[in-house]
């Protein structure tokens, strides 16, 4: 046990450094590759010239600075955020199947967005382009609050109640979304609904980066500060309480914090699946279950993974785009299974 801990301690900085290099490389690839072919040398010139009115180099400048750059950044932010949220929720409910969307966030966001797209013409006119993301955020918050309230009933919040409430709310909201789509939606609206159910980063612009980035940085910083009590949760309900943790209160507080982060991310990217489920497990296989090392590794790993997945999403079938959620599952799934087979570690959540 002690040996392994020591190994993880020396291993973590190396892993972090490797992931940082991978993130830089995938971000550069994300700037250089896309449906419009721009020579890599010219991309470098455009990036070094800095942002200007029109990016300096006309159409290519606008493509690199105003389309690809914010998209790469949003991908990194969302990937990191989903991975961190997934890591924490898996510890929180002590269940390896937990992910950011288990507790209703994605189905709530889809339901909110669909409601506004199909019925909310007036609201759309009033709030403009922000209407649908706002509705998605409201929907995911509503779902999480409902889950929270039901899980909390009877004074304490137990993991079993939390998972069951989450799954039930998710089913109800997904059914509601399908009902609206079948009964009311025009064919053209179904296309924009797909974005919310499968996720996408194609609409990313500079003005939309501040909020998700802020939520990610603040949320991750707070959670890293809470690494020790999160570790205590792994000792089980009794164990954690014996070690002096008010598990019910702690769980509620962390749940609210993660929910806010997830709600903000989903409002900008739709529900991109798989990242928040698998990246935490992959990170645990590499650096173990201690959250002080695990959370930064998961964050960087999620950022790298989603940046690469989005690169595939927009180049594989160019000029058409594949929803990034399809890529994360199709490409990430087999990779994760391979990792699972290779791994000998069964500590932490799995096991």
């Amino acid at each position: 046990m002690r040996l392994r801990a020591a190994g993880a301690l020396t291993r973590t900085p190396v892993v972090l450094a490797l992931l940082a290099v991978a993130l830089a490389a995938s971000a550069l690839a994300g700037l250089a590759l896309g449906p419009v072919r721009i020579p890599p040398g010219q991309v470098l010139d455009i990036v070094l010239a800095g942002p200007g009115p029109g990016g300096g180099a006309g159409a290519f400048g606008a493509i690199v600075w105003d389309v690809r750059m914010p998209r790469v950044l949003l991908g990194a932010v969302v990937g990191a955020g989903l991975a961190v949220a997934g890591t924490v929720l898996q510890a929180l409910v002590r269940n390896p199947l937990a992910d950011p969307f288990l507790l209703g966030a994605s189905s709530g966001a889809s339901a909110g967005a669909v409601l506004v797209i199909v019925f909310g013409a007036g609201f759309l006119g009033f709030a403009g382009g922000a209407a649908v993301p706002l509705a998605a955020f409201a929907g995911s918050m509503g779902a999480l609050v409902a889950v929270y309230a039901m899980a909390r009933r009877g004074g304490a919040m137990t993991t079993g109640r939390l998972i069951l409430a989450g799954v039930a709310v998710q089913y109800v909201l997904s059914a509601l979304t399908s009902l609206i789509l079948v009964l009311a939606a025009h064919p053209d609206q179904i296309r924009s609904v797909l974005f919310w159910t499968l996720g996408g980063l194609g609409g990313a612009r500079w003005g939309e980066l501040a909020l998700p980035a802020g939520a990610l940085l603040l949320g991750t910083a707070l959670l890293v500060a809470l690494a020790r009590p999160l570790d205590l949760l792994l000792a089980g309900e009794e164990g954690a309480r014996t070690l002096g943790l008010d598990t019910s209160r702690f769980r509620a507080a962390v749940f609210v914090l993660t929910s806010l982060v997830i709600g903000v991310l989903v409002a900008y990217s739709g529900a991109i699946g798989f990242v928040g489920l698998m990246v935490p497990h992959a990170a645990r296989m590499v650096v173990g279950a201690g959250h002080r090392a695990l959370l930064p590794v998961a964050a960087l790993g999620g950022a790298v993974f989603l940046t690469l997945a989005d690169l595939i999403a927009r180049t594989a079938a160019a000029p058409e785009e594949i929803p990034v959620g399809v890529v994360t599952a199709l490409v990430g799934g087999p990779f994760f299974l391979w990792m699972l087979r290779r791994s000998t570690r069964t500590e932490g959540i799995v096991g």
Binding site: G34, P35, V36, G54, G58, A59, F60, A62, I63, D66, V67, R68, I117, V118, A121, L124, G125, G128, G129, H186, D188, Q189, R191, S192, F195, G200, L201, G202, G203, R205, W206, G207, R314, A318, P319, E320, E321
Partner: protein, 176 residues
Amino acid sequence: MEYCTEGKVGLDQLRTEITEVARTFGVPERGERLLADERRRIEAVSARVKDRAKPAVFVYDSGEASAFTSGGKGIGNEIVALAGGTNVFADLDDTFGDVSWEKVIERKPEVVLIYDYGGTTVEAKKQRLLNDPALAQVPAIKNRRFVVLPLSSAVLGVRIADAVESLGGQLHPDAA
């Protein structure tokens, strides 16, 4: 009809459609009359704009994260050409298709043709385009050159001549 076909959709398909419907209802001569009228009106527009410079037109049907536009095989492509413009996505091998915004920027359209239909208003679509910082340098957006067609006349059917006349007038307002 337009969605069911594999090949290019153009005026030949319009003739087939009108002739078949007229025959089915037992009024082939009225079909012929309608067809001749459509043809005469379309040719009048094409003759009027023949010597004009043909502006690059980007058809915006809908789309947020990507743009849903008219490809080279659709009647939309034909309408733009007949009305004296060039569709910037004429090389897209489909009637309609999703293209990424970076492609739109690269093609530098001079005019945006918005299809008017369904839940999203023309004004909302205009605002979507005008408020996108990535599109600010696109000539059509910079100069606010928007033209509009109801989607009902931009799909294969008896309103094609209406669409060509309307679009021809909007693209070349000073063509006598």
